[in-house]
Amino acid sequence: MRRFFERLLNLLRVRRPDHDLAREIEAHLVLLQDAYEARGQSPDAARRAARLALGNADHVKEQHRDARSFRWIEDAWQDAGHGLRLLRRSPLFTATAALSLAIGIGANTAIFTIANGLLLRPPTGIAAPSALVDIGAARGDGGLNPVNHATYLEIARRATSLTSVSAEELFPHVMGLVPPGTANAEAILGRSVTPNFFSVLGTLPSHGRLFTDGEEATAVLNYDYWNRRFNSDEGMIGQTVRINGRPVTIVGVAAQDFQGAGIQKCDVWLSIGPGGTSAGNLMSRGRLRPGAPFETAVAELNTMGEAINRDRGTSSAQAPRLSALPYSRAGGNRNVVLLFAGVLMVLVSLVLAAACANVAGIMLTRATARAREIALRAALGAWRGRLVRQLLTETLVLFVCSGLLGIGLARVLMRLALLILPPLPASLVVPLALDWRVLSFALSLSVLAAVAFGVLPAFRGSKVDAGASLRDGTRGSSGRSRLRSALVVGQIACSVWLVVLAALFVRVLRHAGAADPGFDPRGVDVATVDTSVVGEPNAGPSVLWLTMLDRVRQTPSVERASLARVPPGGFEGIGLGGVAPGDQPSTTAMFSPGWNIVDTGYFATLRIPIVAGRDFASSDAAGTPPVVVISEALARRFWPGQLAVGKPLRLAVFNARSRRTETLISTVVGVSGDIRSSSLIDGLAEPYVYLPLAQSDAIGARDMTATMSIVARSRSGGSLSAAMATIVQGIDPRLVLENPQSLADAIALGLTPQRVLATICGIMGLVALLLASMGIYGVTAYTVALRRREFAIRLALGAPRARVVRMVFRHGTWLMAIGLGVGLTLAIGAGQVLSVFFYGLPAAHVPTLLGTAVLFLFIGVTASVVPAAQAVRDGWRGALQEDC
């Protein structure tokens, strides 16, 4: 062990041991010489004999070095130093190569940093996050949907593989907080959580206490919010404030580093009492019993879901299947984030591959130029492996330097990325820290790329015929030229691929912008109001909503206005239950449609056509026979070829108050046009069932209508948020307007993935295009240099200059054509795959493909012009004289 450290230490002190050894050997020689002289030899003869007895001093020094330290590290160190000196000597090459590699590595690192923040990095303030699991209703894409409070209670009661189960609202909400001694509500971001929320996470309080079991009407403040709003006043603890109209006691402040379990910012956590919550969407989370594997919990939840449904009397066809995922900040969307990050990483890896191919090509050329140096080393006894190691180390130095640059670039890229994102509805807390995972990812990527793209050039570069190279000077082999050409073809293929994909995504965005969503979002403003603020829900909201809507409608700038539980363009939806045609046997399987609860005039406000029947009217009031409006897609599904108006519809809805699934028959009074509500991404017209707000009581969905969105169309197209805010505050100062925005903005948010992909592909495509043109220029120039003598002879023998130029062009164009062919094929293939995921993405768009082909051919020709001109400029004399 001690020797190991001594050897490591000796890596750092190279000079002193060498000097010491030289002194010792000299002393040894003197002593030997003395001895020989004492035996009667002449000084000269004695000196010679002494040297003979000692042996080859250089050899001794070599062996000594081997024994005292790690030789290969010392060599690598020297090679790295040599590599750095070489890089310094050619700053232009270094700058281009390092920058192109840094862009590739940086883009990868940026994406990894975000994925790391969302999925890998354990959040602060949470104990043993690896034992936590997210629980919800299984979704088709492997994700989780929220569950309702009753289901949560069942999970908490039945789970045996989990020590405790908590739940929190899916999203934090804007709430109105009235601090003690004031009358006006301030907007805060609040989230309702079960009292054991903190204990499941293992979070500690920084002041006061956290929730205890069974309590309600209490709140815990976020440390930053407490510091910002209340100046860290400890007197706030124990005070009663009004949040959304209800008195709530602040019991404590969470630990300073605790920012919640998800990515959305939250100012205040509110305890959900034993009575439950009106919110139908809770994400559940549990802590695994020590020793219980994750799979056991998943299996238990699967069977538990079935048992719960059996007990509740719902048929399994429509029952939510419960499942779990390992806890991550991304919650139920873990797999979606993983997939999206994967796709992005593949895309930006293309540009890294193009950059690597470019650098490898230049390295090959340089190896040719350095053939003499390599030959000299080989002639002096360096074995092949040592030469390969040297060349590889030099490549490694370049890539690692670029990797370090890439880490810096990743920070810049992430800042730029924020600029291309539309404004998000809630502020996010994603830690984009530069931790050991990010660092090791960037460095491993650099090393991996260096090895993948450096090994072949290193082997090729080290293969020299010492005699020939020293005699002939710098002249490369045709094998190397082939390898370079292959690299250029690969590079072109990657660039073509990226450029085509970028063009396709831009088309998706345009398509989505131009596509008819089934409603007219122009000039429509949306804002959400939570009326649970205003006392008892039994008397309040309906009157309140009517007053509010009346005032909005009376505003001169408002053309039309209505209310909706789920305005189009959002990410949230409500799941009420299943439906089936009422004129068929009651055993017919239920179908889960999209649900919405709307007031009269909703369809007219959004300009959704009523294709048959009528809109809801004021006569569809509470107590009258229940009616629904369904979308065309649902009408087609249930009554193909028939008139749906007047038909009975069987609804099986979960009544939040009685906690049971109830069946009732409604009459279809109208059929509306289809809307692509929440997603223009998949373009699917989701079958919809609309319920009238006035009748929501009858189906037990009254609690859901405490929060509704005002949908208002402006006459002038101007923003209505200010007017709506005034009206809402005028009705009750405790009310606050949540997320007022134009409907167009809300829809744009849904197109974020496409926008991100288009931008990234576009930027990366441009970089790749630049790299490809550099690659073609490089390889053509290199070929010209190789065939300089041949061209000179041709010219001397009377070949016209045009023919020589054509020969040069032919090579460049040929490479371009092959690269283009490969790239286009790959792009068409990728297009096929992506068109499945993205609505409106054409698998093969001929004008895009043709345009790309023309662009690349043009670049190929342009990049070959300079080398071709060089081939004939000097004439044959110059070239031939140089060789003589």
Binding site: I25, L32, D34, L54, H59, V60, H64, R68
Partner: protein
Amino acid sequence: MLRALATMGPLHAYALASRLEQVAEHPLMLNQGTLYPALVRLEQRGWIKGTWRQTESRREAKYYTITPAGCRAVEDQAVRWRRLSALVNRLLLDEG
């Protein structure tokens, strides 16, 4: 080498080489330079320690002294060798 240093006290590399040549019955079998890698290994293990001093002929030389750890190592090696050779002897005798 350790044994030589243990019995004869501090020696420089030349004296050590001469001593080894005496002990080994084949003089000048190896170049004296081959001693140095071995010396550096022993020094790194902490079994010997080198210091620059003057010889009797007033020449400069690096003298190597055996350390207590080196003495223990000699003992250990000797014990191990005795055990091994005893074992081999017994095996040979049994077969005989």
